[in-house]
Symmetry: D2
Subunit: 261 residues, 4 copies
């Protein structure tokens, strides 16, 4: 059984900007899905912002094991109801990878609960990505560092919560550093943020970047059945308590009543 | 300079439910502000859901060092714009303590990025709270465990992110356990969740509970000036790079242009 | 390729104590290796304290993917050189699971850097183990809680570092709680501590306990080649710097000299 | 009541190496104690490797609130019994700051349980230290970054456990990055590792470095009384159980007997 990946692409600059269209003639999401489909045990498709429900229908999410999200120019156009739906899927066990400018994507900000801000510079400078956690599954098969000759700079402080693990840190030619690979868990969903991927540069054609994303997919994959109602807060009746107890004191809720939400 | 605490009270059950009104004749928020005002170096006031802007005006947040939030029956009535304003204050450095049923309060869910769900039972059973992190500042002056003879049960799994530190874990008479004291940091804001406090029981009259909350206030307090724009993602121009670099390749943004959000 | 597990057994009480010998006629390590050998993709053997080099020869460690350690009465008899060798293997990528009273085993204390102490009571009381991290790989296939009718109590505070993740918390009949499943990473090695397993009770015959241990083996397994010298701190010569730099100022070390250790 | 700091200095290169003696005519430990003594609420003294018991007598540790440790050339000369004594003090609540090459000091390695290795280059290159956790107490009063014009390079991967918080990350002129400020907690003791401080450079004369160390002292300080026996694992007798239980099954231990260690 292959891991089913859905790549969510904003698909704005590929259509409007000739440079981006030239670098990614198959679109960014198409490029990412393309190299993932060459990986053993992974099958990838893509959807875009412009699709009905941004491509994030209940049906599509139900058949997505790992979601990859790239967005930049149109974060605000993503419907809040779709954001909640995506988060529900993550909490229920769907893995998710956020790439580059998706640090400001609504689902990422929603899952982090933090500003997710940073400093930036668009100068085509050199980025060197260092592995900070030796033999982490997401770093599998990588050298201890690799370079991207032209990238946008993202600088610290990166306004995210302390991660479970810091997997990569970037060095930038202009003098900044950035935590470029971070893992989180929210509900039953594994989350990986990976920094590189400005749309005017050929980052997603880079073999090491492709390896990180494929590793990330395997790391984020949760083979268990999706939790149907990941927000449920079930009442445990007194007469079904695991240890015998006798009810005492006043109650707000009647038997069988739902809790407040 | 005293730490300025604002206690946010939902103030619904105190008004509608005779049992609650009997247990907390000064209201719950009034009770909490009351015992905090007896602490050296702390000055507390309270606001409620029913106040204009739920009492969470820009002015009030600006003079709040640590916010304490208790809500239960009316989470849905809290305006989303106020939730964002509260989160901005936290990200900018305001400390915040969420009590009991505030696990489902909008600001808590927003800051956690997770379902924050649990199991529950309203049976007036015994809860025993164990310190899991010896000499943690929030456990200062406490015995290694203390009991609340009648409390609502909250049971694991508690759907929150891994905390910075687990300070307390509760044992319940009916057979459950719960991580009752958890710390987080979001942006520059310290966050403490503390479980006890069902409104029909005299929990906030308990000396140990009062000590935990006062300790929590001191732990959460950040003495630095509030960050004015905690979501800002400033551009660092090429000509101001810390190391000399020459711009290369195409750009999306013109000089001085803001980034996408 | 199967995951190669070595179960390290202290093998003292099985030989000296009739009760333990009765509960575990195949010894404890033999029992654990036995049920693991029924798992698909796992092959297990066992060694004991009494073996030459406690069974932890360089050769045996080299062919061990995941080590399981149970000890209680004879922690002090484990040679410190063997402890360092085991830790080197963990830092180089070997997974390791510490069971029950191995909280005081030398390799566990060495890897934790903490007292690893707790409170305890030997009364054959009921333990109920709750899953705190839904769908964590180590909880795969388990119900949300399970019981062991007779176990030794271990109580908080448990003197260990904050874990990567808290997977299980135990409720005890006598009123205590304990973080019973904790994950760590040290160097390239994954570490799992699992609480149950007092030698006078049939804990390792329990199906849920066996499932946790098998899950733990799969979680701890690191498929990459062992790092040969996990403690190396290599010098990067100036003339091989990734960015061209010119040496400045005085030096302590001559070219090619090793660093201080 | 002032925070009582003890600065532990190896005091080897100050005596043997003219360059070091020239940069630190008052010795390194003397320099550090000197600037700390100018801080309000801090009083600092120093001891050295050459003192009886390396200056780490029971009496000295008992009157030390925060220990600062700098060592490099003579890690191996530190007696293992003193290492255990220092760790006991940390577990009992003493704060500790490890500086620079103390990443390989015995007490640091003992407290981390990890290799603590890194890459390095002694070329007097530029280091730029970035704050990654805005308004963290240890970063109080610092700009978002500061530079040391000549320092030794330390590079990732840094073989330490995931920290509680990453406070600083360094950029190096030669192309590497390093997590330069990391916090941990072991037992009741707060631990801070801070990278800069190669002995041939004037790092500890730098105002920002001095501010970090003073902040670190205040952060690491634990005002509670030292835990007398931080390794104790007390038995809780059946007849003193918090909930009434009846003893069942066989026992290994007699009443009042100590547990195995």
């Amino acid at each position: 059984m292959a891991i089913r990946v859905t790549v969510w692409g904003e698909n704005v600059h590929e259509q409007k900007n000739k440079v981006v269209a030239g670098v990614y003639p198959l679109t960014m999401h198409g490029t990412i899905a393309g190299f993932l489909n060459k990986e053993e045990g992974i099958t990838a498709s893509s959807v875009t912002l412009q699709d009905p429900e941004h491509g994030m229908t209940e049906a599509k999410l139900a058949e997505t094991d790992v979601l990859i999200w790239w967005g930049h120019a149109a974060h605000g156009q993503v419907d809040d109801k779709i954001v909640e739906r995506v988060c529900d899927a993550v909490w229920g066990g769907m893995g998710v990878i956020f790439l580059h400018s998706a640090h400001f994507a609504k689902p990422f900000k929603r899952l982090m609960g933090a500003p997710c801000n940073l400093t930036w510079r668009e100068a085509g400078e050199r980025e060197r990505i260092w592995v900070t956690s030796r033999q982490h599954p997401i770093a599998r098969g990588l050298p201890d560092h690799f370079e991207l000759e032209t990238e946008e700079m993202y600088g610290e402080p990166f306004g995210v919560p302390e991660p479970l693990e810091t997997v990569f840190i970037s060095w930038f030619q202009g003098g900044e550093v950035f935590r470029s690979g971070l893992t989180y868990r929210r509900g039953a969903g594994n989350i990986f943020y990976f920094r590189p991927g400005h749309e005017t540069y050929p980052t997603y054609h880079d073999a090491n970047v492709q390896k990180v994303i494929a590793n990330g997919v395997r790391w984020a994959f949760n083979p268990e059945a999706r939790i149907a109602k990941p927000n449920d807060a079930p009442n445990t009746p007194v007469d079904k308590a695991l240890e015998p107890i006798v009810e005492r004191g006043p109650r707000l809720h009647h038997d069988g009543e739902e809790g407040f939400k």
